[in-house]
């Protein structure tokens, strides 16, 4: 593993409520090289907030503090908004959950991808056009010239998500954060979309943070896994060793999933009082 791409130490995210500030991420630390890291947890475990704070996307009144939040040597917390704009998209980008709400409905697919590219690089029109078509081909869209002229409502969910991946990867970032990239998609399309992300990430030697609630899926596509519960990492393990997980929460999550050859009469349920979680 080369020098770490991302170093996070004691990351805390909090929001004010009527009864004082509530911490949703409580002292998270990890380092990421050019590898694939999975963050798993249930709703409210703080996994998405972790992803967003790396991009400094948490707005007031939310508050992010950390002993260290360095991306490639740059202190993210010290950057101004203007400086962040040069990083977001160009060096770190994020694939959101639902293509329906994350694409601009009044711009064609091609225009949106072009916008992502020209914001960060000065290129000629022909070159931009070529890069768009190449990128759409890379995300396995069959007829890129036609699709580039479509509006988001004219493409299916799976295709929309591929368009978004194309948009995020076209400036060739070093780190990709994928926040539940497939939970809005069909099972049959999920695998395709993840294969595409996986393929592009490995080919370009990028870092990947895959945020998901699906343990099985994360273990299939990542090298390392962090399991989060109520703002804290409860377990860290190599993806291959997930079945040997120790923490009762991880074990509970694994057991609660029905399997294809199900013989249990009742599924074990998490005892929530044990972690005082959501």
């Amino acid at each position: 593993m080369s020098a770490p791409l991302l170093e996070v130490e004691n990351l805390r995210v909090s929001f004010p409520t009527h009864s004082g500030r509530v911490e949703v991420v409580k002292g998270l630390s990890f380092t990421l090289g050019r590898e694939r890291l999975g963050i798993v947890g249930e709703s409210g475990s703080g996994k998405s907030m972790t992803g967003r704070s790396i991009l400094k996307l948490i707005r007031k009144p939310g508050e992010v503090t950390a002993d260290k939040l360095h991306f490639d040597g740059i202190d993210i917390l010290d950057q101004s908004e203007k400086q962040m704009r040069a990083i977001r998209g160009a060096r770190i980008s994020m694939v959101m959950q639902d293509p329906k709400f994350s694409l601009n409905p009044v711009m064609t697919v091609g225009q949106q991808i072009a916008e992502a590219l020209v914001t960060h690089q000065k290129l000629g029109r022909k070159e931009v056009q070529q890069r768009i078509l190449d990128m759409l081909t890379a995300v396995r869209i069959n007829d890129p010239e036609r699709v580039a002229k479509l509006y988001p409502h004219e493409v299916s969910g799976g295709m929309g998500q591929r368009v978004m991946i194309a948009m995020m990867l076209i400036p060739e970032p070093e780190l990709l954060i994928a926040d539940e990239p497939t939970s809005a998609l069909d099972v049959s399309v999920q695998a395709q979309v993840l294969d595409i992300i996986d393929d592009l990430v490995t080919r370009k030697g990028m870092g990947l943070i895959l945020i998901s609630h699906d343990l099985a899926l994360v273990s299939r596509y990542c090298d390392r896994i962090l399991v989060m519960n109520s703002g804290q990492v409860v377990e860290e393990c190599a993806a291959g060793q997930l079945d040997q997980a120790q923490h009762p929460y991880t074990r509970g999550l694994l057991a609660a999933m029905p399997v294809l050859n199900e013989t249990r009469d009742e599924l074990p349920v998490l005892d929530r009082t044990q972690w005082a979680g959501t």
Partner: protein, 243 residues
Amino acid sequence: MSALTLKNLDISYGDTKVVHGVNLDVPEGESFALVGESGSGKSTILRAIAGLAPEWTGEISVLGTPRTHRVDRNVSRQVQMVFQDPYGSLHPRKTIDSALSEPLAIHGIGNRDERVEAVLKQVGLDQRFRFRFPHQLSGGQRQRVAIARALMLEPKVLLLDEPTSALDVSVQAEILNLLKRLRREQNLTFLMVTHNLPVVSFLCDRLAVMRHGRIVEIADVAQLKQGELREPYSRELLAATAG
């Protein structure tokens, strides 16, 4: 007796026909799954049975009686539906109590107080939730309310449209256990739409694989568990799940 019989069922939305010639027979007490990708028409079949997609031709029979195209009180008493999204399917300005009492008021059933209390108990919700609003409940609790509402009229058949796909795995386990217990206790018939094959394996007896508005295969769950589905498309689905 069969709980649900569909014969040569075609369903359209306007000029677009989305379900073509579906034949299906679900005996009483069975749990039957419809699986397939988005747009394959599986939810539309449930909507037609519930009376939400009135443009159909063919025959829909519920417990031996053919269904008409209009709103049918007898059908609603016997067939109730649970929707996918627990956030969207409860009225935001109505308390749980009034959401649960409404079907009773519509059908002129008395003794509401006790019935609401009893149904909350059945779905494992504490009485303190009774006078709360949906936004004060978690996703899993809301789905329990949606199931409770469907049980209010003591139906024989439940139509379940992806009842757990919006929930976390641990909450999904709770809801699946609940559905399984309710079916055992009240001898319910389930017709469930899902694209999660492990859920089918846990909860259902038979399944139909749908594609482009047609049923391509009907199989036993035993066949699913052993990976012995015949049609190439069913195998594709199976492969996508198994990875």
